[in-house]
Symmetry: C2
Subunit: 220 residues, 2 copies
């Protein structure tokens, strides 16, 4: 079963909104997620329902089907593999990859993705630390906690960011807090929640609570 580019984008948004912990996904949510109008969303939901990638009951919510899940994960896999390519091979910055990957994810060629995956050495996480589903849609996610939740002397590795806005990513780059960096909590300030951390056993930096809440750590 083939999906158009627009359908793939809707399905991906629906998947992300479903995973986001929300019990039910609303038409308005989807509309603002993909920058379109609710009326257009209604139209598309009907179509996605007919294609059986979602179960759709008018005025009530929708539920993504097993088929829909599989297709969404395929698109997400492609998106994240391309992001790895752009950053690792073409030296794009974190904040430059998204819109290009958004286009590349719609290229249709199973062989291409297979070869790209091999070429990148079967990466398990994208540059933002999000897991890359395998060809069957299986995602191996690791238990992660916010840097803010860590205790003094606890150490781990930066594996993801919650906020991936260009401004935030640029800040992280500047202070050397890249995905994969090994960090250790040296001190926490009670008063404002700011944290002092050691990065890669050599550089000490301070981060505000706003920042540490947005950095996810795989503890060790």
């Amino acid at each position: 079963m083939e999906l158009t580019t627009a359908e793939e984008n809707y399905l991906k948004a629906i998947y992300h909104l479903s995973e986001g912990g929300k019990k039910s996904v609303s038409t308005n949510d989807i509309a603002s997620a993909i920058q379109t109008k609710p009326a257009s969303v209604s139209d598309m939901l009907r179509k996605l329902g007919e294609k059986e990638v979602i179960q759709y009951r008018k005025y009530y919510g929708l539920q993504i089907t097993a088929l829909g899940m599989r297709l969404a994960l395929q698109t997400i896999r492609k998106h994240r593999l391309w992001e790895v390519f752009l950053v690792d091979k073409l030296h794009f910055a974190w904040d430059e990859v998204h819109e290009v990957a958004e286009q590349l994810e719609h290229i249709q060629s199973p062989l291409l993705i297979e070869r790209l995956d091999a070429y990148l050495n079967y990466p398990k996480f994208d540059p933002h630390g999000d897991p890359i589903p395998d060809e069957f849609g299986d995602v191996r996610s690791r238990p992660r906690i916010a840097l803010q939740e860590m205790g003094i002397d606890q150490s781990g590795q930066i594996v993801a960011v919650k906020d991936s806005s260009p401004a935030f990513l640029r800040y992280l780059d500047k202070v050397g807090a890249y995905i994969g960096a090994r960090i250790k909590v040296l001190d926490k300030v009670e008063f404002d929640g700011s944290v002092e951390i050691l990065v890669d056993q050599k550089k000490t930096i301070f981060m505000s609570k706003d920042v540490t809440n947005n950095i996810l750590i795989l503890t060790s």
Copy 2:
């Protein structure tokens, strides 16, 4: 000025047909080149005329403008760079690259192409030996002759193929006549026009006239 994917494909076809030595490009030619109906072509020509990438007079032919030329060469540049990527990096075979490159060429990101070009080490020719235009649309083409036209003892390098059908490309791969191979003509058979050549100073192979007419050589 922005072109849609469909417009880019028409313009590219028009460019190729114009370069093909034809004095004027017909609606039928375009239709068969891009596998569509003449009626659809007429429609599109009107639109391309309005966008001033071609000069179009109903019932008489069309002429590609300087603007159209520049845009067509940009698309061709992208197509050929992607082909190099697919073959050099992802180890695609000659006959597997075309349809994927056909999709990749429409990705819009000047930065991507700039980085890809650098990553591939600024290649001047694609895997079929066709020249890659630079960012300004300049093409440095080399004088090439058909293998069939070479004399005995003349040597050179395979730089392109006229017929790039999968069957032909597979045949070339099988006999070891890849793009870039250095060859020397050992003998020519008067009777049927077949040619005996030495490939890379080690392997001797026979090729029929049909084959040698489709292989282009940069003589040395």
